[in-house]
Symmetry: C2
Subunit: 252 residues, 2 copies
DNA sequence: CGCGGGTTTGAGCCTACTCAACAGATGTGG
DNA sequence: CCACATCTGTTGAGTAGGCTCAAACCCGCG
């Protein structure tokens, strides 16, 4: 219930030189965050909803489901993410979003988001850019799913998750939070829970991975990254911020 | 070389009630289209580029590639599509975009696109919404890839392509253009060319599909749609335009 | 006429699946 | 605080869907 010291959203954008009015606008967007327990709905599929969400703390996940039992986890969001940019064109939400851990989110109408276009276009651009990285990362994962072996897929997934955590939390450790059951990892990779388990155990036996729920440590991260030719899209974005590509362009 | 009668882009948005200045702004964006032959590059991967593209005619495709031989086709674009919304956050382009057929594209800098935010925010919203549908469709395909059998994946792919053609070209026929080799279809679905071939032949023998290069006819489209619980995201978008959800909101 | 890209088919194999059973956690209500 | 239910993890045994390898065919094109 107690108020967080400050927005994860803001700290994530702290690498940018925001103006005072921009900071205020951002803080204004995040008024009235709602607490949510793990597994609680953020957005229900099939329901008309014209809101977007800002993750303030905790993780959430987007699922595509045809029958129960056939589920795909498409996106994973954490503190500082904006959820819903890719749903702007649809009236009723296409997919289901639920909290993956407990945390808090701010819901706001698209109108309010779009209002930002006019009042703070540079801010809007930045949010858009931020959201677009997740799409690029998704395409990378799609490639992994279609063309990698199960073993490589799992490695890629863990690397990708670590990269995102690094970007969002500004902390760096090969020991990462992994608040997913093996079934859910399977849903993100197109594998069965049983096979995911075999892979996990295999990595554990070979010493590449150490588990201590709900954390895992990637003991041979570098080796994995090299073998898979892993691209960290988030760090590439961060580098761009230093020599601003997106945000600095208006001035030129 | 001769100038097309008018923009596919505009005709696609014709369902919207655009103001005269908005129409002019759109036409201005599409000045100086460049002709491109099939297979010609639109965007090279690994190269810094801050432009986006508007497809004026023809088709193009986005590929993710680790080694040559391991390729994934992620997006397929056709007349009236804007390419590059999901690359806004990255400085060097993450993926390769090439023409799938010959056609023409207009390239413009992100600056120009972002300028639209200020001069015609409603227009920008609409473009964004349009682009977001393709992302939603991609998630659907991702679900198909991870959780459907190869046979169902191919059906889903063809249905999805037909839905997009209907939306972009405003024409409706179960006979659709399919300018892809079987290898490329495999790249879009995570299958080998050999297996795609077996599936195609199977459908042909059962009478579900008729080929006449480069067209295919989906003889049992309805049956496929029902069996797969297929959702046409594009038609859902069109319906929304009639009772405007996105574009009409500013007025209220 | 030969070449190359795409298509077609066969044979055999292997990765990841299904089915089944049990062990461990976690939680919940009486 | 225990008994029971349920969800997650673990392992084995057997299977099959889609793969690899190999070779031929078709067709347009230089």
């Amino acid at each position: 219930m107690e108020r967080q010291s400050h927005s994860a959203f803001l700290s994530r954008l702290s690498r940018l030189d925001l103006t005072i009015p921009e900071r205020e606008a951002l803080e204004d967007l995040e008024r009235q965050p709602e607490e949510r327990r793990g597994r609680a709905l953020v957005f229900d599929a099939e329901r008309p909803d014209d809101r977007i969400a800002i993750m303030r703390s905790g993780w959430s996940a987007v699922r595509v489901r045809t029958d129960p039992g056939r589920t795909t986890i498409t996106q994973i969001y954490m503190a500082g993410d904006v959820i819903g940019f890719s749903d702007l064109g649809v009236g009723t939400l296409p997919h289901e979003t639920t909290m993956q851990t407990s945390g808090s989110v701010t819901l706001l109408s698209r109108t309010k988001l779009f209002a930002l276009i006019i009042t703070h276009p540079r801010l809007f651009e930045t949010l858009l850019s931020l959201a677009s990285i997740d799409t690029v990362v998704l395409l990378d994962r799609m490639h992994a799913i279609t063309r990698f072996t199960a073993e490589d897929r799992l490695q890629h997934f863990l690397l990708s998750l670590k990269a995102k955590i690094d970007h969002c939390s500004l902390q760096r450790s090969d020991r990462i939070l992994l608040p997913f059951s093996q079934k859910e990892i399977g849903d993100a990779l197109g594998l069965t829970e049983i096979y995911v388990n075999r892979l996990v155990r295999r990595f554990e036996k070979s010493g590449e991975l150490t588990r201590s729920r709900p954390y895992v440590r990637l003991n041979t991260r570098k080796a994995w990254e090299e073998r898979l030719n892993f691209r960290n899209r988030y760090s590439e974005f961060d580098e761009n911020l230093l020599k601003p590509v997106v945000s600095g362009r208006h001035g030129s």
